[in-house]
């Protein structure tokens, strides 16, 4: 519990002091490694478990060098059996460890679904037993990975009460949210977008750094229109806003469960025009939920229908031009913003 005390000793979520914790310039991927390494050094109950994460250092090299530093007992290579990975993690969590599972690709969570949504998510509800575990989910497409290696499975997870779901868009949030996820007493699904791994970099506080789960971030302030997004779509929105030169607000949700309803409604009330954007498929997705929240609670502030920019309800194609057609592109974002501005 010493880690908890240390978190509380530095209030304010971003709680850090410039002298003690200078920023490092890291990629999104390096920030994830940094969070894992920092927490493993601080707390010996933090364990990594997954396929090829030890000797190979992970399919994307997130845990590169971990087995050398922490040993095979804390960096556990497993067979290709996600149900076993998550099931073992549930057992570890109930016995006092804090396992961090790596799904090699988020798509493979389907194989571990029973242990995740039926066992881990409901353990505290059924038996009053906490399951402090993290499932890391390398998600998203854009690299011609095809239908089995490109999915954004957040909507599946959001239908399982008991799970928390976070989806950072920046390197600093990747570190801060993973730290909070490890320290959280609930099972937390950590969506790390593969497209951001090496394309997004930024200042990341060194040492311990936690970002509270459940708090959205105003990535860009504006008053004409709100783009509410998360993950890769945040960057799409920021780039479009920059190029269009319009007075656009961009809200980075960061946490999908719990949702920062207050931030969503505040922005909707401010601008009256909302575009919800995500790379995941459309129906019953986060966009649908956010849109429903806004029409329920901010109807009288709306100046236009709440709109969505998403992937259509289809698998992700393997062919690069087809994939581009399916995933929201910069031009799609700009067109959607322009249309809504003109409304």
């Amino acid at each position: 519990m010493s880690t908890l005390e240390q978190t509380e000793a530095r209030p304010g979520g971003s709680g850090r002091e410039a002298e003690q914790h200078p920023d490092a310039d890291l990629t999104y991927l390096e920030a994830i490694s940094d969070a894992l390494r920092t927490e493993m050094r601080l707390d010996e109950t933090v364990i990594c478990i997954g396929e090829d994460i030890g000797a190979f250092g992970g399919a994307f090299k997130v845990t590169d060098g971990f087995i050398e530093e922490f040993g095979a007992a804390r960096v556990i290579d497993t067979p290709l059996a996600e149900n076993a990975i998550i099931g073992a993690a549930v057992g570890m969590a109930t016995e006092g460890l804090k396992p961090v599972c790596e799904m090699q690709f988020a798509d493979f969570i389907a194989c571990g679904f029973d242990q995740l949504v039926n066992v881990a998510a409901k353990l505290h509800y059924r038996q009053g037993v906490a399951a402090p575990m993290v499932v890391r989910l390398p998600s998203g497409g854009g690299f011609s990975g095809g239908p089995f290696h490109s999915q954004n499975p957040e909507a599946w997870l959001l239908q399982a009460p008991g799970l928390k779901v976070v989806a950072p868009a920046t390197a600093a949030d990747a570190k801060g949210l993973l730290t909070s996820a490890i320290r959280d007493p609930n099972p937390v699904c950590f969506l790390e977008h593969k497209g951001l791994y090496r394309n997004v970099r930024g200042a990341v506080p060194e040492g311990e750094y936690a970002v509270p789960i459940g708090k959205a971030r105003v990535a860009r302030g504006g008053s004409e229109l709100s783009v509410i997004a998360y993950g890769s779509s945040v960057h799409l929105a920021l780039d479009a806003a920059e190029e269009l030169g319009e007075d656009i607000e961009v809200i980075d949700l960061r946490s999908l469960c719990p949702l920062d309803v207050e931030a969503i409604l505040a922005s909707a009330r401010k601008t009256g025009k909302v575009l919800v954007a995500h790379e995941a498929t459309r129906s019953c997705g986060v966009g649908a939920e956010v849109s429903a929240l806004i029409t329920e609670h901010a109807f009288e502030h709306l100046d236009a229908p709440v709109r969505r920019l998403t992937a259509p309800d289809v698998p992700i194609p393997f062919s690069p031009p087809l994939e581009q057609a399916v995933l929201p592109q910069p031009d799609d974002m700009k067109e959607a913003i322009r249309e809504l501005l003109a409304y």
């Binding site: 004409e224 409604l265 505040a266 009330r269 401010k270 009256g272 459309r282 609670h297 901010a298 109807f299 009288e300 502030h301 709306l302 100046d303 236009a304 229908p305 709109r307 969505r308 920019l309 998403t310 992937a311 259509p312 309800d313 289809v314 698998p315 194609p317 087809l322 057609a325 399916v326 995933l327 929201p328 592109q329 799609d332 067109e335 959607a336 249309e339 809504l340 003109a342 409304y343």
Partner: protein, 452 residues
């Protein structure tokens, strides 16, 4: 999709545009009635919640009838037009619509209809009818609300949104340009109201429309202010005792004629007032005031008697009531009550009270929780004295004259007695419940003994 209503006419139906699409809306007719159309030539545009579709003519001929106007929404399969094939087309020559049963479905294979090509593109909601129809009459929720809040006549606002729609921006610009000097300073243009889950239920009975309104009388206003001040100041607590008034009733019957000769009406209230004054001398904590962090103990009992008037209430004070006998108190109550009703009280006769008695019981009420008359610490309420069946215990003389233990010498029976409640509200800042109860017990005991 197409059928043959007559020999030479081919009906054009709303096509199936995807597995999950059940209806379509006519956007625009590209052909007018009477125009010649080639088979597969586009005759109109239809939109659904998913896609926009060009509807081709199923046959070559003349557009004979248009059955659906732009903006009209029809279920899949409903006729939208008829093509007269006349002599220049075979009566049976209707080709299946490209957008009909042979069209790729929007869902199953991921195919999209229309000009989007063979694969789906990211889904973006389109503004309905963007730039096509006059939308100046459509008012969005925020525009409606802002117009109401700022008394803006929307007919005078120019819309710059799609189809001439009035946008929030247009209303803001209108308000800002309309009366820059007069209208703006008092009210913020647009306030960010916090979300309130349940809107306040409209006050039907008290609505602006129906009820008669009248200003409060000065007395009503004073009472209102005093009562609210008191309830917000004192820590109100109410303790109640029930008193058997049999003995008082007996005494009153005995004394009444003699008092009447002197012109003094003898009421139950006089007995209660006398018992209260005596008990206050015994429990002076009740005869005090709270002043900031101090409690002020009063040497005299200045007894307030609440007198109800036609349009309010006044509390004349009987000063130094501890010096008055039962007869003196009875006379004083009668005096102040009558002068109060005639409006002849002097200003200093309604000030300086240290304890108040109120008497709603005269109107038949049996229980109330009165509000303390500030800055006093208690108010006693005489409720209606009514006959109730009560258990009375009498001591039974035994044959040997010796008292037995464990209550064997007490006989319980049910009797009909004149009973009344004495609720007293007191200020928990100044005293505690035990003191209040002891005081009330003393009042009760005095009344049940029959007083002097």
């Amino acid at each position: 999709m197409s059928s043959l209503p007559t020999e030479s006419a081919v009906r054009v139906a709303m096509p199936q545009m995807g597995i999950s699409v059940s209806e379509g809306t006519i956007l625009e007719w590209r052909k007018a009635v009477g125009d010649h159309v080639e088979a597969d030539e586009t005759i109109c545009d239809v939109t659904t919640d998913k896609v926009d579709v060009e509807i081709p003519s199923p046959a070559t001929g003349v557009l004979a009838r248009i059955l659906a106007e732009p903006g009209q929404t029809l279920p899949v399969g409903e006729p939208i037009a008829e093509i007269d094939t006349g002599d220049d087309a075979p009566a049976n020559g209707a080709k299946p619509s490209r957008s009909g049963e042979n069209a790729p479905s929007g869902n199953g294979d991921g195919g999209d209809v229309g000009d989007r090509g063979a694969f789906p593109s990211p889904e973006v909601d389109k503004a309905p009818g963007a730039g096509e129809t006059d939308r100046s009459g459509f008012i969005s929720p925020v525009v409606r609300r802002m117009a109401d809040e700022h008394d803006v006549d929307l007919a005078t606002v120019e819309g710059h949104g799609v189809g001439g729609r009035i946008r929030k921006k247009d209303v803001i610009a209108f308000i800002e340009s309309a009366q820059p000097a007069v209208a703006r300073p008092s009210r913020p243009l647009h306030t960010e109201s916090p979300y309130v889950p349940d809107p306040p239920t409209p006050a039907v009975a008290n609505g602006n429309g129906d009820g008669r309104r009248e200003p409060m009388s000065p007395m009503r206003k004073t009472i209102a202010d005093h009562m609210v001040h008191s309830i917000q100041t004192a820590a109100h607590c109410t303790t109640i005792v029930e008193v058997d008034f049999s003995t008082v009733a007996k005494r009153r019957a005995e004394l009444k004629p003699a008092y009447a000769e002197k012109g003094v009406p003898l009421t139950y209230l006089a007995f209660v007032a006398r018992a209260v004054v005596e008990s206050l001398e015994e429990y002076p904590a009740l005869n005090s005031s709270v002043d900031g962090d101090e409690i002020v103990h009063h040497p005299d009992v200045n007894l307030g008697i609440a007198v109800s008037l036609e349009d309010g209430l006044i509390v004349p004070v009987i000063p130094k009531a501890q010096r008055l006998s039962l007869e003196g108190i009875a006379a004083a109550i009668a005096d102040v009550a009558s002068r109060a009703r005639e409006g002849k009280l002097a200003p200093d006769e309604v000030q300086g009270g240290t304890f108040t008695i109120t008497n709603p019981g005269q109107f038949g009420a049996v229980l109330a929780t009165p509000i303390i008359n500030q800055p006093q610490v208690a108010i006693l309420d005489l409720e209606a004295i009514v006959k109730r069946a009560v258990v009375v215990s009498t001591t039974v003389a035994t044959a040997d004259g010796a008292k037995r233990s464990s209550g064997d010498d007490v006989s319980d029976s049910i009797a009909i007695r004149p009973m009344g409640f004495l609720p007293m509200s007191w200020d928990h800042r100044a005293l505690d419940g035990a003191e209040a109860a002891r005081f009330l017990g003393a009042v009760k005991a005095r009344l049940e003994r029959g007083m002097a």
